[in-house]
Symmetry: C2
Subunit: 208 residues, 2 copies
């Protein structure tokens, strides 16, 4: 009796290390499939269609919106980004645990459509560490860092709507912790209705 | 910042192995405290007051009921059994994860009073195995086994109100699984409001 996969959405402060965590999770355990986003932005060097993104024209993307082929989508800097429903649902049906990385507004939209979505919020151990990591990257201007930290203020307000808080203090430990949380989710009674039905059926007959 | 302990209630079919699981959990990990029940039944040989049970007279027990000193109680075969609130709450405040073994009606009462209680339901992999274990004990008459299996029918009906289903197929694995489920519970956003508040406070000030 193969169980359906768990849909997990990962959000968190910019600089919390979501990307690295997810890459490691998928490399280390075979249970997972990373969702692939659709976007209208141009491919960057080395990006592969169907692996990094599904690259779409504006017209194609808007057709997907109309046909409700996206679980959620958003528009940033004049480009669309969204999560194609087909890929996610087919992976879940095959029993894969699907991981999406989405910012918080999108995450809460997904939870609304799929109430059994698992919402994980990734955070560094404290704000000092968050600043250090953002500055440490050395790739961003002070203005960009400031605007990200400011966005953090808004994000913190909805943290309590997430299921689990993942404090990313050590990569290896945190990957293992995420794995355990997602795998334990398979043991929820609400995800084992078939098993419970079987037990009830078996108890119905003549017992001894 | 020491977090409050998690209150966990373990129920399950008679013969599912709850007792052995809990004993092993407490022996293997130091995070846990087993709740000690109060009862009006007479001590059996070797049973120690304050370790196996708190032995009470009927009058003492009824006074505890009146003073709401019990989280839940029930009356079986003319004897009271109940869970003293004091012991449980003091252990939780010290950060211990407290484990109660209670049948299902009591378990749901506890959840009503303490909504953040974790409810675990222990079951053998299937009904065949359940029968085998009950018969295998060799200590019970066929009538007792039959009545337990019959009670199982009622119990199965409320299984879906539990949080997690613990399929007890292998003692060591199952103890570890229980441990992970309870420890992951500490990572729930709803149990980390203080941490979230701290992050929000730190993000309020001048950031850079």
């Amino acid at each position: 009796m193969k169980q359906k996969g768990i849909l997990t959405v990962v959000s968190g402060f910019s600089g919390a290390g979501k990307g690295t965590l997810m890459k490691n999770l998928v490399q280390r355990y075979e249970e997972y499939a990373l969702s692939i986003s659709a976007t209208t932005r141009n491919p960057r060097e080395g990006e592969v269609h169907g692996k990094d993104y599904f690259f779409k024209t504006k017209e194609e993307f808007e057709k997907m919106i109309d046909k409700e082929e996206l679980i959620e989508y958003a528009n940033y800097v004049d480009n669309y980004y969204g999560t194609p429903r087909d890929y996610v649902e087919s992976q879940l049906c095959e029993g894969k645990d699907v991981i999406l990385e989405i910012e918080m507004i999108g995450a809460l939209k997904v939870k609304e459509k799929y109430p059994d979505t698992l919402l994980l919020f990734v955070t560094p151990p404290n704000v000092e560490e968050l600043k250090k990591r953002l500055i440490g990257r050395g790739t961003e201007s002070i203005e960009v860092i400031r605007s990200r930290l400011n966005r953090g203020k808004d994000e913190a307000k909805v943290m309590n709507q997430y299921d689990y808080l993942i404090v990313n203090d050590n990569l290896d430990d945190t990957v293992q912790k995420m794995h355990q949380i997602i795998q334990n989710e398979h043991l929820r009674c609400s995800r084992n209705e078939e098993f419970i039905q079987c037990i009830m059926e078996d108890l119905k007959g003549d017992l001894l």
